[in-house]
Amino acid sequence: MDAAAARQPAIEIDHASFRLNGRALVHDLALTVTQGETLVLLGRSGSGKTTTLKLINRLLEPSAGEVRVSGRRTAEWDPIRLRRGIGYVIQDGGLFPHFTVERNIALVPQIEKWPLERTRARVQELLGLVGLSADLASRYPQQLSGGQRQRVGVARALAADPPILLLDEAFGALDPITRAEIQKEFRALQQRLKKAVIFVTHDLREALLLGDRIALMEEGRLVVNLPVAEFATSGEPLVRAYVEAFSGGEAR
């Protein structure tokens, strides 16, 4: 990557709004994510986090303002090309139940018509990367545990080595122990891979663990956008409310 591209934010949300039936689901949102950075979008359900992700991969188009990916407006991108360069992980993986683990992971390479050998090798590499044994390749999603499915979901998103990763409550369906495990692994993975990551969650602990920055959203608006170290000490009332909600019962 040359110097100019390195300075170029991977994702720029430039005062974007999204209205549906007269209601603003996202209002005048401004955020940027640079390569190698993990931004956590924190907020309760209905705060516009998922809508924001969909504005980035052009599942939705902004009603006002614009969203730029790699310096280009999403409206100018061919949506198919745009999406193949953005890994997307949802809760429980969103895996295809009729595909084996191998075919699920190979989804983007297959539709991008990679040679079979290269796809095979890449699937093996990815299984290792997300901590799954190679003999799981021929299994179906229903035959896996929740944690394994989620790892397959991450592997599928990484398959064609996209520069950007979007994760929507990705680890939300997991039991606490598996969840802690996979969070740690994801953090380590991100330190190696240096993607531009937006991670949506309503869990403050997860946000503090995974984020470089935390953007708190409420009713479609950005409340604060702070480096993770400054977040917990912010005086913003809504941030205080979050911190208190998550420290409830703990001795402090």
Partner: protein
């Protein structure tokens, strides 16, 4: 003479009428699949057509079968040949289960799965062929099974307009007040329907297992 003796004595005719019956049903289901599945897919893509399409197919189902066969007697270019008329009528009747099940099957695919596919950059065509149709195939197959079983029963009435099939025995038996003749048409038709139900049901379960492999 017992019923079995009767069947054995007339085995040639029983066999040829059974084959005729299966041809009527087979050709009708073939056309119904060819029209019904694409129509079912179309209304998942253009939802504002769904009411009109499903409504029309529903209305056709409510026409009494004997009346539908009767109407077609007056249709100019098909009226000449009984078999063609019967095939048209049976195709029309088979449309509803096919359109409805294709539509319902695709609509019932987990939206999270479809959205994941779309977000990963699959085109509409890829989503349809690689995700939606395979996952809906069990439900679509159920539509084909229902349509086939119903058609086998309905096709007996086609004999009333000279289309042949096992209904020949039934109508002949009715006019001659001969129970054995009626049974010689009704029993093989019932056996055909049962076989179709079991055979297509097995296929349906195999396709349904695609999404539920455990």
């Amino acid at each position: 003479m017992s019923f079995w003796d009767f069947l054995i004595a007339h085995r040639q005719e029983v066999l040829s009428l059974t084959v005729e019956h299966m041809t009527l049903v087979g050709v009708s289901i073939f056309f119904a699949v060819l029209i019904g599945i694409p129509l079912g897919i179309l209304i998942t893509r253009v939802p504002r057509l769904s009411k009109a399409v499903l409504g029309s197919a529903n209305v056709i189902q409510t026409i009494p079968s004997l009346a539908l066969f009767g109407f077609l007697l007056f249709a100019p270019w098909i009226g000449a040949r009984g078999a063609r008329m019967a095939i048209l009528a049976l195709t029309l009747y088979a449309l509803l289960p096919l359109i409805r099940n294709t539509y319902a099957g695709i609509r019932n695919v987990d939206p999270a799965v479809v959205e994941a596919g779309r977000a990963m950059g699959m085109t509409d065509r890829q989503l349809l062929w690689q995700v939606e149709l395979p996952l809906a195939s069990g439900v679509i197959m159920a539509g084909i099974r229902v349509a086939t079983v119903v058609s086998i029963g309905l096709a007996t009435i086609a004999a009333a307009i000279g289309a042949g099939g096992l209904g020949e025995f039934i109508f002949r038996g009715l006019s001659m007040v001969n129970t054995q003749l009626i049974l010689a048409g009704a029993v093989p038709a019932a056996v055909l329907a049962l076989l179709a139900d079991v055979g297509l049901g097995a296929l349906e379960r195999r396709l349904g297992a695609l999404k539920g492999r455990a």
